[in-house]
């Protein structure tokens, strides 16, 4: 579809920003035509921008009627702004100024989203940030539960005895008749720390760090009681596959792009302005000459 590939053109992207900025500066206060001007020009870039927005929301381009509606809405807004400004509604109204700034920045941000980042961009981001999304190490474990609630004071000694039997039986020991029945799983497939903690309680996974895979160890304590644990497998963490991180990369690259474009825009614009900081007259000093702020008591 020609429109779609047109929207992908970076040149159009910049044209859109340029056109919008031109319109903004041409029709806003800033010494030029100003609010008094009754001419509203809508460029191709602006129309494309409206279409892109609609398509994003509704997953299809607007019909003739709908596009006319969008343009009408845009014209209304432009009129409202100019009228409001000539009525002086924007003068020194922080919130209106903030809103104008917001609008200004939205143009840049919208453009940043309109064209999705390329795979290369995403991969470059991934190369820089992969460490933050490092896959946690995972553990597969078996456990035998010894209930303090059911055994009371004997629990510790019982756990030690069971541990001996388990150690002797080895990693494949049958556990069905050892320890106490529980809803807690006797076997956990490879799971990251957070899943282990959600099942056995915060801090349980940490205690397993010290355990050698392949040998029954313990007792490890949880909020439920005592556990004799066999770490069947420990899979070191690693970098995730790019495809797994792609949606996050997309989200972050678009956000970064927004920020960068905004910063670049302001840098460019700043060169256009002269900024002067006016210092107020020095406050009058009390006759006694005592420095303010020195408390007497």
């Amino acid at each position: 579809m020609p429109l779609k590939s047109l929207l992908r053109e970076p040149l159009l992207h910049f044209l859109a920003i340029g056109a919008a900025l031109f319109l903004y500066f041409h029709f806003s206060g800033g010494g030029s035509a100003g609010p008094g001007s009754t001419r509203i020009a809508i460029g191709a870039g602006q129309v494309a921008h409206l279409e892109a927005g609609f398509t994003r929301t509704w997953s299809r381009p607007p019909t003739e009627v709908e596009l006319k509606g969008l343009i009408d809405e845009w014209v209304r807004e432009e009129i409202a702004v100019r009228e409001a400004m000539s009525a002086g509604l924007d003068r020194d109204d922080t919130v209106i100024r903030r809103r104008l700034r917001q609008k200004f920045e939205f143009l840049v941000e919208d453009a940043a989203e309109a064209i999705p980042p390329t795979d290369d961009e995403l991969k470059a981001w991934f190369a820089l940030h992969a460490d933050e999304y490092r896959i946690e190490p995972r553990l597969a474990l078996r456990q035998v539960f010894v209930s303090r609630d059911r055994r009371g004071a004997a629990a510790e000694a019982d756990a030690a005895a069971i541990l001996k039997r388990l150690a002797a039986a080895g990693p494949e020991a049958g556990t069905d008749i050892l320890g106490d029945a529980t809803m807690l799983p006797a076997d956990l497939e490879l799971a990251p720390r957070r899943d282990i903690d959600r099942t056995f309680g915060t801090g349980f996974a940490k205690q397993l760090d010290a355990i050698e895979p392949g040998t029954w160890s313990g007792p490890i304590r949880s909020g439920y009681g005592l556990h004799l644990v066999l770490v069947r497998e420990r899979v070191e963490g690693g970098l995730p596959a790019f495809e797994a991180v792609r949606p996050i990369a997309l989200r972050e690259v678009v956000a970064e792009r927004r920020k960068r474009q905004l910063a670049a825009l302001y840098d460019g614009l700043l060169r256009k302005y002269t900024v002067v900081l006016e210092r107020p007259a020095a406050p009058s000093v009390p006759a006694s000459g005592a420095a303010p702020g020195k408390g007497g008591s």
Partner: protein
């Protein structure tokens, strides 16, 4: 028979009530009828993060920078002695503002942009405008003036400022006062407030100055 007649007589009223009830707005949630929470809530939207002042206050109360929180001092609109307590609270605040004004006058208030102080709890506006002899203070202002810088704070902070236990600079630093407005206006007001000595020391200096004058003339 009699019952029937009553029913027919009541019918128009019932119908009227029913229509009134039926047209009652659908966008309610409980508590929306409590205007004071909504006043504060919407202030948080008009002056973003104004609500952070409330948190800063209880932290300061916990840390001893402000007098400890006093539940008994809370004035609920539903309590029977609301009006009396509200009036006495407002009187107290007025006095505190007067003390504050004196302190601010002593610091020279000729160029400060006009600003309005709003107290979160009671949503009370007090307006300050630079005049020839110092600040002109309007209590119970209906709202912020059109171009005013808005300073958001609350009664415990004003009390501490009036007592001289706290300076405006310190209050700002701890988030007990937040300023809103144009960049120039905010800078102007903040610079001014930061320069205001604690009320106590300002009063003390005025006393010393008066004494010094008296000594000189004796």
């Amino acid at each position: 028979m009699k019952r029937r007649k009553l029913a027919t007589r009541a019918l128009p009223t019932v119908l009227l009530l029913a229509t009134l009830l039926a047209s009652a707005p659908a966008v309610h949630a409980c508590g929306l009828e409590n205007p004071s929470s909504v006043n504060v809530g919407l202030l948080n939207l008009a002056y973003p993060n104004a609500l952070h002042v409330r948190t800063a206050i209880w932290i300061a109360q916990r840390d001893g920078v402000l007098a400890p929180f006093d539940a008994a001092a809370m004035v609920e609109p539903q309590s029977p002695d609301f009006l009396l307590r509200q009036m006495s609270l407002l009187r107290g605040i007025q006095g505190q503002f007067a003390a504050l004004k004196a302190g601010m006058d002593a610091s020279g208030a000729r160029e400060v942009p006009a600003f309005s102080v709003v107290l979160l709890g009671v949503v009370l506006w007090t307006r300050f405008e630079a005049g020839d002899t110092g600040l002109n203070m309007t209590v119970h202002a209906p709202g912020p003036g059109g171009d005013d810088v808005v300073v958001v704070t609350d009664a415990p902070v004003i009390a501490a400022l009036a007592d001289g236990r706290l300076t405006p600079a310190e209050a700002r630093r701890r988030g007990l006062m937040r300023t809103y407005g144009t960049v120039q206006g905010v800078q102007g007001v903040e610079r001014f407030l930061d320069g205001v000595a604690s009320v106590k020391s300002a009063a003390a200096e005025r006393f010393v100055a008066t004494m010094t004058d008296r000594i000189r003339t004796d």
